[in-house]
C-alpha cells in the first residue's frame, strides 16, 4: 500500500515540478531508471517466490543504479559510453523480461 502511494507521489512530484535534468546527470538518468526497474521487477518476483527481503531489495536497487551509472561513467571516459549504455539497456532489458515472465507465471500459471 505504502509502496503504491510512494510511487504515485513520485510520479506526481515529477509531473508537477517538471525538473530539468542537470547536464552532468543526463547520460545517467535513463540508465539509472532502467536499472531501478530491473531491481523493482526482481523484487516483485522475489516477493512472489516468498524470498523477498527489504534489505536485499534496497541494496540491489541502490547497487543496480550505482553500478549502471559507474559503467556508463567509465564508458564515457573510455569513449564507448554510447555502446556501453546500449549494452546495459540490453542486459537489463533481458533480465526485466525474464522476471516479468516469472511474475506472469505466478499470476496466471502460464
Amino acid at each position: 500500500m505504502i509502496v503504491a502511494f510512494a510511487v504515485a507521489l513520485g510520479v506526481t512530484l515529477g509531473l508537477v515540478l517538471q525538473p530539468t535534468v542537470p547536464l552532468d546527470l543526463q547520460p545517467y538518468l535513463p540508465i539509472a531508471v532502467v536499472a531501478a526497474l530491473d531491481a523493482l521487477f526482481g523484487g516483485i518476483r522475489a516477493w512472489l517466490d516468498r524470498i523477498f527481503d527489504d534489505k536485499v531489495f534496497v541494496v540491489s536497487f541502490v547497487g543496480n543504479v550505482l553500478v549502471a551509472g559507474l559503467i556508463v561513467f567509465v564508458g564515457d571516459k573510455l569513449g564507448v559510453g554510447g555502446e556501453l549504455s546500449t549494452a546495459i539497456v540490453v542486459v537489463l532489458g533481458i533480465r526485466i523480461f525474464a522476471n516479468a515472465a516469472a511474475i506472469r507465471r505466478h499470476f496466471f500459471r502460464a
Binding site: V3, G10, V11, A39, D54, V58
Partner: protein, 247 residues
C-alpha cells in the same frame, strides 16, 4: 521458482500485503520506488520536451548534425537544379512563342500562295467579254502567265482560284474548264499585285490585250482597284510522294 503450492495464494497474499501495516523496511522500499517513479517521469519529460537531443551524446549529436548538413546540401543542390530547369523552360517557352509566330506568318504566306486563304489587296480586274467564243484557253493561260510575270500574288478566274497547278482547257461547246469547273464569257480575272505593273504587262503591244482585241467580238477591260478581293479557295492537297529533303 514455480512451486505449485504457491500459485493458489498469490491473490490473497497481494490483498494482505496491500492492507498490512508498513514496517521500517517497507518505508525504505517505498522511498526507492517513489524515487524510481520520480526519475522515470523526469526522464520521460526530458526526452519528450527536447526531442531527445538534450540527452543525446556529443558523438550522436555530431552524427545528427552532419546528417542534417548533408540533407541541407542535397536540398540546396535540388533548388539550384530546379531553378536551372525553370530558367531553361522560361527561355524555351519564349523561343517557342517566337517560332510559333514565325510559323503562323509562314502559314499565312503559303496559304495565299497555295490558294487555301482568301486574299485582299490592291490590284486589277480584267474582264473579257467574248460572245462568239473566240477566246480560248490559250489566251487565258497567256494572260495568267503574263500576270504572274508581272508579280501577281493571287489570281481568281471567274470564281476559281488560280494556283501553280491550275489547268485551263477548252470546252467543246465554247467556254473553258478551269480546274474542271466550267467557266464561260464574260471571264473575270481578279488579280492582286501592283496595279500599274499588271496593267502595263497586259497592255504591251502584241500582248494579251492586243491578242484579245484581234479576236472577233471579244472585248477586254482592265480596271485598277485599291481593293481587290480573291475569295475563291482550293483545298490543300498533301503530297503523297514528295517529302521535304533536308540539307
Amino acid at each position: 521458482m514455480s512451486r505449485p503450492d504457491d500459485h493458489e495464494s498469490v491473490w490473497p497474499r497481494l490483498r494482505a500485503a496491500a492492507t498490512a501495516r508498513p514496517g521500517r523496511g517497507q518505508v525504505a522500499v517505498a522511498v526507492l520506488c517513489g524515487l524510481l517513479g520520480f526519475g522515470l517521469v523526469t526522464q520521460v519529460h526530458a526526452t519528450s520536451s527536447t526531442g531527445g537531443l538534450a540527452a543525446a551524446r556529443p558523438a550522436d549529436l555530431l552524427g545528427i548534425l552532419s546528417d542534417l548538413q548533408n540533407r541541407a546540401d542535397r536540398l540546396r543542390a535540388d533548388i539550384a537544379d530546379l531553378q536551372g530547369s525553370e530558367q531553361r523552360l522560361n527561355a524555351g517557352s519564349g523561343q517557342d512563342a517566337a517560332a510559333l509566330r514565325e510559323a503562323r506568318a509562314r502559314a499565312r504566306t503559303l496559304g495565299i500562295l497555295t490558294g487555301t486563304l482568301a486574299a485582299r489587296g490592291p490590284g486589277i480586274v480584267l474582264t473579257i467579254t467574248d460572245p462568239r467564243s473566240r477566246v480560248g484557253a490559250d489566251v487565258l493561260v497567256d494572260a495568267i502567265e503574263e500576270l504572274r510575270d508581272a508579280g501577281a500574288e493571287a489570281i481568281q478566274l471567274s470564281g476559281v482560284r488560280v494556283v501553280a497547278s491550275t489547268s485551263v482547257l477548252d470546252r467543246p461547246g465554247g467556254g473553258v474548264a478551269v480546274d474542271g469547273t466550267a467557266v464561260s464569257s464574260p471571264y473575270r480575272l481578279a488579280v492582286i499585285g501592283d496595279a500599274r505593273t499588271l496593267t502595263g504587262a497586259l497592255g504591251i503591244p502584241g500582248g494579251v490585250l492586243d491578242t484579245i482585241e484581234r479576236r472577233p467580238g471579244a472585248t477586254p477591260s482592265v480596271v485598277s482597284s485599291p481593293r481587290v478581293t480573291v475569295t475563291a479557295l482550293r483545298p490543300l492537297r498533301t503530297p503523297r510522294y514528295a517529302h521535304p529533303a533536308h540539307g
